[in-house]
């Protein structure tokens, strides 16, 4: 039986020992396409719980330069004090987050990277054919520098580390700034500063006036913050603003 910690990071409850597609984040799975398959293939080795832990730690502590924005010198320094290497790019989980009875969000369902829930059950899958808005009209990855303490933004973890709603309603993780004032909610794409704890609750960039967004067609577009309340929320759904209320998880079943 796997510890809850590993279940929480990617659905390792699907079997033991876990395979590479069962543990870690989407940033682990795309390693195959970055000519870095050796990192993913580490998951073929573990057969005991200790080896699972060690493999997870080894992978999570491996710095991947491509995941770090060159303009973010703080994140580029290396793993955080807990041994996790960082990333500057988060997948868009959708625009339909809701705050549950426990105050948690991180549960958008209509983006290309729907989180659905913390247990990943059933595991959401989205194909390109399930993007009715058209690939160029949907954003799948945006910028968010790691949190002020470099804790969140671990590239091999999932929700809030490598996946975020746009807008985000996830304020159960970070609720206040350093002065105890509440973070602005909802967390829309807006400028911020690296030492503000609230900065981790929304997409933003170290670049002035806006940030880079990856569309589903593979193109990268620099969008200004003035798009935060107009086109971007709609583009954060696979429906491109249409079909509100329908989840991609349901559509994919």
């Amino acid at each position: 039986m796997l510890p809850q910690q590993l279940v929480g990071v990617g659905g390792a409850n699907d079997g033991f020992p876990p395979r590479d597609e069962q543990v870690g984040s989407w940033l682990l799975r795309i390693q195959h396409f970055m000519e870095r398959s050796q990192i993913v293939e580490l998951w073929r080795a573990p057969t005991t719980l200790d080896e699972v832990y060690a493999t997870f730690r080894l992978v999570s502590g491996t710095r991947v330069p491509e995941y770090l924005c060159p303009s973010d010198a703080q994140a580029a320094r290396g793993p955080n004090r807990w041994g996790y290497a960082l990333n500057s790019y988060l997948a868009v989980s959708g625009n339909d987050e809701r705050v549950d009875d426990q105050g948690h969000a991180s549960n958008a369902t209509n983006g290309v990277f729907p989180t659905q829930d913390w247990s990943w059950s059933p595991r959401p899958r989205v194909s390109m054919a399930a993007i009715p808005a058209g690939l160029s009209k949907v954003v799948i990855v945006g910028e968010r520098p790691p949190s002020h303490d470099l804790f969140y933004g671990r590239w091999n973890m999932t929700d809030f580390d490598t996946v975020l709603g746009n807008p985000s309603l996830e304020f159960s993780v970070i609720a206040t700034d350093r002065s105890g004032n509440p973070c602005i909610s909802p967390g829309f794409f807006r400028p911020d500063v690296a030492d503000d704890p609230c900065a981790a609750t929304h997409f933003w960039s170290m670049h002035p006036r806006g940030g880079n967004w990856l569309r589903a067609d593979g193109s990268v577009t620099f969008l200004g913050y003035d798009a935060a309340f107009t086109t971007l929320p709609a583009m954060s759904s696979v429906f491109g603003g249409a079909g509100a209320g329908t989840t991609i998880v349901e559509a994919a079943r």
């Binding site: 929480g8 573990p46 832990y53 491996t62 710095r63 290396g78 969140y152 304020f171 159960s172 909610s185």
Partner: protein, 195 residues
């Protein structure tokens, strides 16, 4: 001299015209700016947030306005809020009241989902030293950098705010809150019930 004066006068003529035109543009620009300000006067929204008759003592009120921008303000300990410089017209409203005691950083979920397995194991090896006692080797061509050496984290948990209680989550999004108002120029009173 007179020719020179004429020449001077002739040479100054266009300048004067330029000055006059610029002055006219300035006046017109000022008038346009004034008119623009007149068309979009500063609007202020004040009110209280209550739930079942109790004031909501912590959180934010966010207004999505006709200019497609968001305007936010904190909720005071007495449930009052004031949002300034919102353009008049219809607004959608969201009210968020997260737990004010949530740590502002590396603890909330980290204690559960990630920090636990990592600190319980030997720390990562220094660059170029592989994975130490780990039963697996680092991938060829990759290195594991040592964790950042930094001072211990300061306690960043916020002090509890007396009287806080959780409000229904649907009010956190303007898309689901059902809250809205139409703002008039000047001061507006908008009391929000989030039962």
């Amino acid at each position: 001299m007179s020719d020179g004066a004429t020449v001077d006068g002739a040479s100054h003529g266009p300048r004067r015209r330029v000055v006059v035109i610029l002055a006219a543009l300035g006046v017109a620009g000022g008038a346009i700016g004034w008119a623009s300000r007149r068309r979009t006067p500063s609007t202020q929204v004040s009110g209280t947030v209550t739930s079942d008759g109790r004031p909501v003592v912590f959180g934010t009120v966010t207004l999505l306005a006709v200019d497609r921008r968001a305007y936010s303000a904190s909720i005071g300990a007495d449930g009052r809020f004031t949002v300034s410089n919102v353009p008049p017209g219809p607004v959608q409203i969201a009210v968020s009241s997260p737990d004010p005691t949530a740590p502002a950083g590396a603890m909330a979920r980290g204690q559960q989902d990630a920090a636990a397995p990592m600190p319980s194991r030997p720390t990562a090896a220094a660059p170029g030293q592989g994975a130490g006692t780990d039963p697996v080797d680092p991938p060829p061509g990759t290195t594991i950098a040592a964790p950042l050496d930094a001072a211990p984290l300061p306690a960043e948990a916020s002090p509890p705010r007396a009287g806080w209680f959780r409000i229904p989550g649907r009010y956190a999004s303007p898309a689901t809150s059902g809250l809205g108002a139409t703002l008039e120029p000047g001061g507006n009173r908008v009391d929000l019930r989030v039962d």
